[in-house]
């Protein structure tokens, strides 16, 4: 089954890179939605079916950890896996994200292989043509 992914990052450059990387992973992805901060992400979640969220942490308005907490507090969304992709590599932030229920953590800068490896247990591979 094809999945819908939501990419949340205040950098349009990173969103563009993740769009490309996700398309190259070989995973069964139907639509990639984008949001520039946590508030925008919640609006997308309210309007679209989302199967996976990839989120930065440092963002204006609502940061990635607040977004993660909001998703995990919602009966409707708490089953959606959230993978943090961020420059925040300190133990404090990592353990905070894990405590809040993050499904994974990728540090920037990242390679396509690191993203693919992190998503391997979360998304289904695309069916061969």
């Amino acid at each position: 089954m094809e999945s819908n992914v939501l990419v949340v990052d205040d950098s349009a450059a990173i969103r563009k890179i993740l769009q490309r990387v996700l398309r190259q992973t070989g995973m069964a992805i139907q639509t990639i939605h984008e949001a520039g901060d946590g508030q925008e992400a919640l609006a997308v979640l309210g309007a679209q079916k989302v199967d996976l969220v990839l989120s930065d942490i440092n963002m204006p308005k609502m940061d990635g950890l607040q977004l993660l907490a909001s998703i995990k507090a919602s009966a409707q969304w708490r089953q959606i896996p959230v993978v943090m992709i961020t420059t925040e590599g300190g133990e404090t932030k990592v353990s905070e994200a894990v405590k809040l229920g993050a499904a994974g953590y990728v540090r920037k800068p990242f390679t396509a292989d690191q993203i693919k490896e992190k998503l391997a247990g979360i998304l289904e591979p695309a069916l061969p043509l």
Binding site: S11, A12, A13, R20, T87, E88, R107, P109
Partner: protein
């Protein structure tokens, strides 16, 4: 190892890693120097990001408009003939990744630090100045013959300023970093 040496090593490793991972480029150089925080004329693209905690300061990445476009084109695999929003955003994210990695390394020595959202400035003949008497650790890298300069200043919190000023011949404003 002194803090300045730790910062210089970390900036060098971080910049090299970001270029290698995100652009597939082996960037040359990275020799460190310490410069006083005197205002200097700038031209091109400069991105600032603030660090806060028990120590506070500012990191910056600067380069020519041509190099900024080349970085954007390589990182995003797109055309970037002139400095536009996408180019500025790419330089901001590059700064976020370089200084963010340095921050993670420094936290091992200095305790938890916060990282601000980057601010990017593009123009000619503008000056930047930290509001403190700050020394900057400066590393100059080269991509082919084009320089990319990464700077970082860091002081114990009670000595640090959190505001950067930039001025040009026609106007001045405060950059919160």
């Amino acid at each position: 190892m002194k803090l300045n040496e730790i910062i210089a090593k970390s900036v060098s490793e971080s910049t090299t890693q970001v270029f290698s991972t995100m652009l597939g480029i082996d960037i040359a150089g990275g020799e460190a120097a310490v410069e006083a925080g005197m205002p200097e004329a700038n031209e091109g693209v400069i991105s600032f990001i603030g660090l806060a905690g028990s120590w506070a300061g500012t990191g910056s990445v600067s380069c020519s408009p041509a190099l900024a476009c080349r970085i954007c084109a390589t990182m995003l695999m797109c055309e970037a003939p002139a400095v536009n929003e996408e180019v500025l955003d790419t330089v901001a994210e590059l700064t976020n990744m370089i200084i963010g990695s340095v921050k993670t390394e420094l936290e091992l020595h200095l305790g938890p630090l916060g990282l601000s959202i980057p601010t990017v400035v593009y123009g000619r003949n503008f000056k930047t100045k930290s509001a403190g008497n700050t020394e900057w650790i400066v590393l100059r890298f080269l991509w082919d013959d084009e320089p990319l300069i990464v700077k970082l200043c860091l002081e114990p919190k009670d000595q640090a300023a959190h505001v950067m000023f930039h001025t040009s011949s026609t106007q001045s404003c405060t950059l919160e970093v």
